[in-house]
């Protein structure tokens, strides 16, 4: 079904790709593959400890209310119930971002959405804990509820959080890069669009689970399905008020994460608190409904785009407005807000750019980072917008994009440094593969092709909390047997990071993957890696691993050179041997080489670490967007639409992705195909929909269907034929030239579908997911002589005030804002207000 077309290396980034790679770039078996396919992987829910008890959370059944009374007496009297916790026991707040420490493990005064945890119950069995949880009575005094950005603007009081920028608007951002007005004045065509991207959720197969085990000396060990053990460690330290060195977090292998396990969660901290209180191990495993309440999924975003084009298709300026429906808590929301604007500039040349955004608090589960974090929404808007521009300008949509591709090694209007860029090759590959030029706008009515591109960061340039330490560390320990123990805080979430770690070490030292024992994601034993988010693991852990391995190679080479009486420069590390390049027979087997080094230097161990390069932006907000390098994708999608019903079938997707350099070619393919799958879901059916009951009868505001049956996600049968192209344009900042692949290829799916539907039946659907009724409505409207467009109304009215002005490099800017005072900011670099909790 899937073809892989090897493409030539562009080689425009010298120093990225090394010659003579052995393992890197080949398809090889994952180190965790056998355990996973034979069901032997121990996930968090598989952990069992002696005397373990089970915990359930009692969650709010009202969307917004003051807690008047909590009565646990009935539950406490039930046989088997051992422990009850309420918010009183954990007064400290937590949250993933230092600027949004707004969550309590158990709500104390207020509940802010249906699903907010209020009480924890531990019992000898899960059945008893569940029954007891149902027996808890909580009295609430209802408060007004907010279900959308527009309602949040109109309802400044009561505030859901007192630290919001204004009323119930969590965050307000407005920034202008360059003289945008002048840019629009140069334009021959100014296009405006209103688009909407509905929220959706991660839908990892594994439901979150945690086992907390108290230790005899008062310490505690927590196994959890988390993507970010380090940040969980920090949050737990804060809430439990214990020294960090007394808390050990071990990230269990994740059964999928996609961003949904990137926050520290109530249930994780609560299990630890309960375990400490009872002196017994505590397990909590969420139901699917609870996973929908943890959420942190894609923000619903309304967008307004205004872009100037010259007659020949160059862009002169863009003004983008985004409005995010954030849900009840901050989560990653401040970063998400910036991300809805930050990456508009790294694909196509955009000389001047203005970005305004708000994030609203609403009484719904908190939104956060989902695969693509904040960028798929504006990418959808932008790529649909470009399709319309191409038509208006009479230029092929592919040509229009090719005309505007950002040059390598440039700095964008908003001060992002782009290194390698394989986007041109990506576009050419999918256009050729789909025969785009011959077929676009020429297919019979009902059949269409859509093209879209995207970019994503390869690791966030800054850590979540301000510090100058490495983002990833790797420690190697060498045994006389030749075995290598690799210690790293990185977290396997299914993306293959364990294999990448082993592969980088194996490549440098010429050993087999089986020689390497991994010890990962353990805050007591492994050096910090910040976590599996922002597509940062391969580049950061990979570079750290290479450094550690190269340091070891240096030691071993010295010892072997001495023993063989050869210069170090002649030694080759390959095939589990260290040998003379000129006389390969002459050499030592790998274990003997290690013994030689240990004999010479003593116990062998090395470390490596990685910090991303600093970025040129120095204005508030410049911390979101920079990355060591950016990946690129291009997609053509073919759709068949039934004009009688509006039902459609995605028949074929051509996806090209610039990964820099594959580490494991099979995993790269898997990530591209997985992205196509997830993007298909977002484009066609997935939506986190909510329901308000009639106000005269009820105050309810609930998730419409927190269930895997009714929250629709594609099945195997809905998958199109896929043709994928791996474009290898090595980046000097990547390990062996590698860039990310886990998130980027998802992004073009949604706009490619909208563009393909337009090509098929002439209806513009400016929102996703695209339902058949939208297409049919568009066709009916067209038949009545109205525009065949289905989409949102105007952007909500909001006064963003004076934007932060940052002149571009072309205008002589230095990366700093010129009007900090007007925005009430300090003149120094600080990018975020710190809120005391």
């Amino acid at each position: 079904m899937t073809e892989r077309r090897p493409t030539e290396l562009e080689g425009q980034s010298p120093g990225g790709k090394r010659k003579g790679l052995k393992l890197i770039g080949t398809p090889h078996r994952r180190v965790d593959g056998m355990a996973k396919v034979t069901g032997q992987t121990v996930f968090a829910d598989d952990f069992v400890a002696p005397r373990m008890v089970h915990m359930k959370l009692v969650r709010s059944t009202v969307p917004h209310a003051r807690i008047l009374r909590i009565d646990t007496s009935l539950a406490e009297r039930m046989p088997g119930v051992l422990g009850v916790l309420t918010g009183e026991s954990m007064p400290n707040t937590f949250g993933i971002l230092p600027v949004s420490q707004d969550e309590h493990v158990l709500c104390r005064d207020l509940v802010r959405f249906v699903g907010d945890p209020v009480v924890a119950i531990a019992a000898t069995t899960e059945e008893v804990a569940a029954e007891a949880a149902l027996a808890v009575v909580v009295d609430y005094e209802p408060l007004p509820t907010i279900s959308s950005v527009a309602e949040a603007i109109a309802t400044p009081e009561p505030q859901m959080h007192d630290y919001a920028d204004q009323g119930n608007i969590h965050k307000v951002v407005s920034m202008r890069f360059g003289d945008v007005d002048a840019g629009f004045a140069e334009a021959d065509l100014i296009l405006e669009d209103d688009c909407f991207f509905e929220g959706n959720t991660h839908l990892a197969m594994e439901q979150h689970a945690t086992v907390a085990i108290p230790e005899p000396d008062g310490k505690i060990t927590v196994y959890s399905s988390t993507q970010t053990p380090h940040y969980l460690h920090k949050a737990m330290t804060k809430v439990l008020e214990k020294p960090a060195s007394h808390i050990r977090i071990i990230a269990a292998p994740n059964g999928g994460g996609f961003g949904g396990k990137s926050d520290p969660f109530n249930h994780e901290i609560c299990a630890a608190k309960m375990a400490l209180q009872l002196g017994r191990p505590v397990k909590v495993c969420l139901t699917r409904e609870e996973v929908f309440y943890c959420h942190r999924g894609r923000h619903p975003v309304q967008m307004h785009l205004r872009t100037g084009f010259t007659r020949d298709g160059r862009m002169t300026a863009q003004h983008l407005k985004t409005a995010l429906d954030g849900g009840a808590y901050g989560s990653y929301g401040v970063a998400s807000t910036y991300y809805t604007g930050a990456l508009q500039t790294v694909t196509y040349k955009l000389p001047r750019y203005q970005f305004d955004s708000i994030r609203a608090f609403t009484n719904k589960p908190p939104c956060g980072p989902k695969r693509g974090h904040g960028t798929p929404q504006p990418r959808f808007g932008f790529e649909v917008h470009l399709d319309k521009a191409a038509e208006k300008l009479g230029i092929c949509p592919g040509e229009l994009r090719l005309k505007n591709v950002v040059e390598p090694n440039t700095v964008t209007a908003n001060y992002l440094k782009v290194g390698s860029i394989g986007l041109r090759k990506c576009i050419e590959a999918v256009m050729e593969g789909s025969n785009f030029k011959e077929r676009h706008r020429k297919l019979p009515f009902g059949r269409g092709l859509g093209l879209a591109c995207s970019s994503y960061l390869t690791g966030a340039g800054l850590p979540i909390y301000w510090n100058h330490m490495p983002h990833s560390g790797v420690q190697l320990k060498f045994d006389r047997s030749g075995g290598i123990a690799a210690f790293c805080g990185e977290t396997e979430i299914g993306q293959g990071s364990d294999t990448v770690l082993a592969a980088c070490i194996a490549e440098v030292l010429g050993v087999d993957l089986m020689d390497i024992r991994l010890c990962v994601a353990d805050t007591d034993l492994t050096p910090v890696d910040l976590g599996s988010y922002s597509s940062r693991v391969t580049i950061m852990m990979g570079n750290a691993a290479i450094q550690a391995a190269e340091r070891a190679r240096e030691l071993i080479a010295k010892a072997v050179a001495e023993k063989l009486e050869l210069p170090v420069s002649r030694l080759v590390f390959a095939d589990r041997r260290v040998f003379d390049a000129e006389d390969p027979e002459k050499g030592l087997d790998w274990p003997d080489a290690v013994i030689a080094a240990e004999s010479k230097f003593g116990t062998l161990g090395t470390t490596g670490s990685y910090s991303p390069p600093r970025s040129p932006g120095k204005f508030r907000g410049a911390g979101v967007g920079p990355s060591p390098c950016y990946s690129y994708s291009a997609c053509v999608l073919e759709v068949e639409v039934d004009p009688e019903t509006g039902l459609y079938t995605v028949d074929h997707v051509w996806m090209a992705h610039d990964v820099g350099q594959s580490i494991n070619a099979a995993s790269v393919m898997g990530q591209i195909e997985g992205s196509i799958y997830m993007g298909l879901g977002e484009a066609t059916m997935e939506e986190s929909a909510f329901r308000r009951l009639p106000a005269r009868l009820s105050n309810a505001l609930v998730h419409k269907f927190p269930s895997l049956l009714e929250y629709k996600s594609p099945t195997f049968l809905d998958m199109p034929k896929m043709t994928t192209y791996v474009i290898e344009d090595p980046d000097p900042n990547g390990p062996f030239g590698a860039k990310e692949v886990g998130q980027g290829p998802l992004l073009p799916m949604m706009p490619a579908l909208a563009n393909a539907i337009y090509d098929a039946v002439g209806v513009r659907v400016d929102q996703v997911p695209i339902g058949p009724h939208m297409i049919l409505k568009g066709l009916d409207d067209k038949a009545k002589g109205k525009p065949g467009r289905y989409g949102p109304g105007p952007f909500p009215a909001f006064d963003f005030g004076e934007p932060l002005d940052v002149p571009t490099l072309d205008e002589g800017g230095d990366g700093k804002a010129t009007n900090n005072a007007a925005r009430g900011l300090r003149e120094d670099r600080g990018t975020m207000k710190i809120i005391k909790s």
Partner: protein
């Protein structure tokens, strides 16, 4: 994970024993066949049971006998997978087999039975939710509450019939056998259902559905079209089961059109069928019948897709299924959905 509540569990070996146990306390006793409907419902606590009687070990109520020439009997405990794999049924009753093949997914069809599908609980997005969710809306009329949230002014429950097999079986005139300690009776399948989301079956709680009987085919052709979001798993958002018999001249001698998933029971489109009978079937006749089929459909906002569009789909799907049966050119594409594994 969600756990089952506690209940008494019985697994009798004979129909007489099963009927006797049910008769002890019919209102607090539930029958279970494949369990694909009941177990999740019990876990979510929107159905409850003091006693569950499994029919899995009851002798003599599974299996397929007969053929299209004489008529067919199918035991209620026959799995949906067995029906999907039966060559005789595929040949003589293709509409019925297509409907069964469209039910859920292979693993559930391995467990699910035809009797279970015919008795499937009605569904609603305000009802098929866990205990905590339903508590957060103050429950609904179908379980523990007083209001039907789909139609708050209504005095009845509007949960939706979700059986895929019933519409086409009603269209071809299938009958069923019901057994209790008081004896047995055979009724039209159509008479099993009534348009109420709570009391959607006319069968008494102490009666056990044991057998489905399909009439001899004669000159009838039947088909089933299913509307749903995905190629598998989903319950119908609309099901159209139809039977058409044409004479040599292409004149319709018998017709039946039944809709599923647009009310609390499968619903007959009597006007549409009446419009077809006695006419030479062409595109205009079909289109007019399809228009008439809209009227009995009452889709509400308690399942997937948008209500107004679903109502339009009734007409388009009836048009499509009748064209297929009459051998007219395709207008609406026969949905890939619902026939994915044929």
């Amino acid at each position: 994970m969600m756990r089952l509540p506690k209940f008494r569990f019985e697994m009798p070996g004979t129909l007489a024993e099963a009927a006797a146990i049910v008769a002890e306390n019919p209102d607090r006793t539930r029958l279970v066949a494949g369990g694909t409907d009941l177990w999740p419902n019990l876990k979510r606590r929107h159905q409850e049971a003091g006693c569950v009687v499994s029919l899995a070990k009851v002798a003599g109520i599974a299996g397929i006998a007969g053929d299209g020439a004489t008529g067919v009997t199918i035991g209620a405990m026959t799995t949906l997978a067995e029906i999907c794999e039966n060559d005789m049924l595929a040949r003589d009753y293709p509409g019925f087999v297509r409907a069964v093949r469209s039910i859920s997914a292979p693993v559930l069809r391995n467990m699910g039975t035809i009797g279970g599908n015919l008795c499937l609980d009605t569904r609603c997005t305000y009802y098929n939710q866990n205990e905590e969710w339903r508590r957060s809306i103050g429950y609904c009329m179908k379980a523990e509450g007083t209001v039907c949230w789909v139609a708050p002014g209504s005095s009845r429950c509007w949960a939706t019939s979700a059986t895929d097999s019933a519409p086409v079986l009603c269209a071809i005139g299938a009958t069923i056998k019901l057994v209790s300690t008081e004896g047995e009776r055979v009724i039209d399948l159509a008479a099993l259902y009534q348009d109420d989301g709570i009391d959607y079956l006319t069968k008494r709680r102490d009666e056990i559905l044991t057998e489905l009987r399909l009439p001899a085919v004669g000159g009838a052709k039947s088909s089933y079209w299913k509307l749903r979001r995905r190629g598998s798993i989903d319950f119908p958002v609309l099901g159209v089961g139809a039977m058409l018999e044409l004479d040599d001249q292409g004149v319709c001698t018998r017709a039946a059109v039944w809709l599923g998933a647009v009310r609390s029971a499968p619903v007959a489109c009597a006007d549409a069928a009446a419009h077809l009978v006695g006419k030479k079937i062409d595109e205009n006749v079909v289109a007019e019948a399809a228009k008439l089929a809209r009227k009995p459909a009452a889709p509400l906002d308690n399942t997937d897709f948008v209500v107004a569009w679903r109502k339009t789909m009734v007409e388009r799907y009836v048009d499509g299924v009748l064209r297929e049966l009459a051998g007219l050119p395709e207008k609406v594409k026969n949905p890939r959905h619902g026939i994915a594994c044929v």
